[in-house]
């Protein structure tokens, strides 16, 4: 299913980063994808299931969360962090700022596991 990815701050992400990014609190607050209920029904997933979000820049596995704040179908929200940045591009069009909000993506159910912060770091090291 095609979708527009929004990224941003949440209070849980803000608290998690202050405690430490290797903490469990941080991963639980950031490795998530908030979705509209209708979209979740369309791809047959429930709150807490895993989804794979793919853009032309990469893909990432996240925990799907039903959110009434995503009031329009066709959009999903991922808090700022290393998981969200797996699927953003680095071209800045001469401005210094990459496009970090409003990235077109596809989302699908998956059985793949959500990478931990250590897994993500290891992927950089390799």
């Amino acid at each position: 299913m095609r979708i527009i990815i929004l990224t941003g701050r949440t209070i849980d992400q803000g608290c998690g980063k202050e405690i430490g990014k290797t903490s469990k609190d941080y991963m639980e607050s950031v490795a998530i994808c908030e979705m509209n209920e209708e979209d979740m029904k369309k791809i047959r997933i429930r709150d807490g299931d895993r989804v794979k979000v793919t853009t032309k820049f990469g893909s990432v596995v996240l925990i799907a969360k039903k959110s009434r704040r995503i009031s329009s179908p066709g959009t999903a929200f991922i808090p700022y962090g290393p998981w969200a940045n797996c699927i953003t591009g680095s071209a800045t069009d001469g401005t210094g700022m990459p496009l970090l909000k409003g990235v077109p993506a596809s989302v699908e159910p998956t059985d793949e596991k959500v990478l931990t912060i250590r897994d993500l770091i290891n992927s950089f090291m390799s």
């Binding site: 527009i4 929004l6 990224t7 941003g8 701050r9 949440t10 209070i11 992400q13 803000g14 608290c15 998690g16 202050e18 405690i19 430490g20 990014k21 290797t22 903490s23 820049f57 990469g58 009434r68 704040r69 995503i70 009031s71 329009s72 959009t75 929200f77 700022y80 962090g81 290393p82 940045n85 797996c86 953003t88 591009g89 680095s90 071209a91 800045t92 069009d93 001469g94 401005t95 210094g96 700022m97 990459p98 496009l99 970090l100 909000k101 409003g102 912060i117 250590r118 993500l120 770091i121 950089f124 090291m125």
Partner: protein, 485 residues
């Protein structure tokens, strides 16, 4: 100022919070045995930092040897850092927004000495806002003026409830100003009414198919009556955030549609007609109501966030918002201010500007400062693979940069100065632990409205840990020593 509560533990009052750009200066800390027991007046993020900062902190210096981070002495880590930077031909020095102005000043001296690029985190937050301000100016003020006088407050592409949790309470709608009252009563009445309406809707939905419609936003707006003389809050965003739930009006814009809505409002303010039914998902009648509110307020302010700078249009969105503000000053008094994220990102821009003439993305490789965001900005330097070494301080670009730029950063010799073992520290070649500025060491910061404030040292750092400024000065001294014949 230190004080005590009877015979109880010491309380340090008037502490400035080192978390977000609000820099709240009314924090009270209860200290026992060199540990913060409780942070009073603090938001959730501030409390998380003051009360839990030590849980995942790092106190050891590391150098990567045979592929593994190995504990070394602080002196060895500083020597290794100096060696990497002195040998590089185009190093990048990045971060700076979560440290003191004094450390930033030392960092700029280091960048000039080694002929590198120095950039701060505004490059991936309000960098486009700075570019827009350089094009069209800014009608700014301090937050005190807004607290006392503003009767129309607009949050555009910003979610203060999550990113600046005390902004509304201290500076806008939920604060009592000299000429403006807070709107707590109105909000709490509305929340109670919402709660009752939801209960009715739940019961109605058991009997009627359309009962749930009472829960929709449209139904809610019809209940949104408020006294005309009171402060009003408008939230404009692509999703219904928690901040939107506190607002009198919420405009949901389609992703990427902010520029269209800004220009539509400019047209309406100039009494032009819009020959469409809606603009980026917002009905024209709603835009007309908002334009009326804007024109008829006594003092309005737009607080804009990364919803404008990170979306399609970037600096052009901000430019349109500033132009809208300029247009409104033909009818009334209107102001505009970016919602700065890190507690000293404004200080980083300020110190960069007074030292080099430019607020971010400064390149010293020619021997003098050059500034060309898009070329000399961190993401672009890393994406092109130009940098051959990096020093990151008080920041975590491995988490916050797009993957391609982050991967290139991980591939070059990397020095990290940070109190935490952040993801960036874990891929680094040299890790230097530092004291927490605003907790274990003092310094100067600039609040989002450019008001300088002093950070306090409230507890002693672990033995042997230095401040960011001291670490940078020692690296600089080592580089200068190694250059001497």
């Amino acid at each position: 100022m230190n004080s005590t509560e009877g015979d109880a533990m010491p309380v340090i009052s008037h502490v400035v919070c080192p978390v977000c750009g609000c820099c709240c200066d009314d924090i009270e800390l209860l200290i026992e045995n060199n540990r913060i027991i409780e942070a009073r007046n603090a938001c959730a993020m501030s409390a998380a930092k003051f009360e839990k900062y030590f849980l995942h902190r790092n106190t050891d210096a590391y150098v990567r040897k045979n592929g593994k981070l190995t504990k070394v002495s602080l002196d060895e880590a500083i020597r290794k850092s100096a060696e990497i930077l002195a040998e590089s031909s185009y190093p990048i020095l990045y971060g700076w927004s979560s440290t003191s102005c004094e450390a930033i000043k030392a960092g700029l001296e280091l960048a000039e000495e080694i002929g590198g690029v120095i950039d701060n985190t505004s490059t991936v937050c309000h960098g486009p806002s700075i570019l827009a301000v350089q094009d069209v100016g800014l009608i700014g003020t301090t937050l005190g003026q807004i607290r006392h006088r503003a009767d129309l407050i607009i949050y555009w592409g910003s979610n203060p409830w999550s990113a600046h949790p005390r902004h509304m309470e201290r500076y806008t709608a939920l604060s009592d100003g000299r000429f403006q009252r807070n709107i707590w009563r109105r909000i709490s009445t509305r929340i109670r009414a919402d709660s009752v309406r939801k209960k009715i809707a739940r019961i109605a939905s058991m009997f009627f198919k359309r009962g749930r419609e009472f829960l929709s936003g449209e139904a809610r707006e019809k209940f949104g009556m408020f006294p005309s003389e009171e402060r009003k809050v408008i939230v404009i965003d692509v999703r219904r955030t928690r901040s939107a739930e506190l607002a009198d009006y919420f405009l949901q814009v389609k992703p990427g549609g902010d520029y269209d809505v800004l220009q539509a409002l400019r047209a309406l303010i100039h009494d032009e007609e819009l020959n469409v039914d809606e603009v980026a998902g917002v009905p024209v009648e709603t835009l007309e109501e908002i334009a009326d509110l804007m024109i008829n307020c006594k003092l309005g302010v737009i607080f804009f966030g990364l919803g404008l700078t990170m979306s399609k249009g970037k600096l052009r969105n901000v430019e349109a918002a500033i132009k809208l503000t300029q247009d409104l000053n033909d009818c009334t008094k209107f102001l505009i201010m970016p919602m700065r994220g890190h507690f000293n990102v404004t200080g980083a821009n300020t110190v960069f500007t007074w030292q080099t003439g430019y607020p971010y993305a400064v390149d010293f490789s020619h021997g003098y400062p050059r500034y060309n965001p898009g070329e000399t900005s961190a993401i672009d330097v890393l994406r092109r693979g130009d940098a051959d070494a990096a020093l990151v301080i008080a920041s975590d670009p491995i988490s916050n940069f797009p993957r391609e730029a982050a991967r290139n950063l991980a591939d070059i010799p990397l020095i990290v100065i940070d109190p935490h073992l952040s993801p960036t520290a874990l891929v680094a070649d040299v890790v230097i632990p530092s004291a927490f500025v605003g907790i274990e060491t003092e310094g100067t910061v600039y609040r989002m409205d450019h008001v300088p404030l002093p950070l306090k040292k409230v507890v002693e750092p672990p033995a042997g840990l230095l401040s960011d400024e001291e670490i940078l000065r020692r690296i600089l001294k080592e580089i200068r020593r190694s250059k001497k014949p």
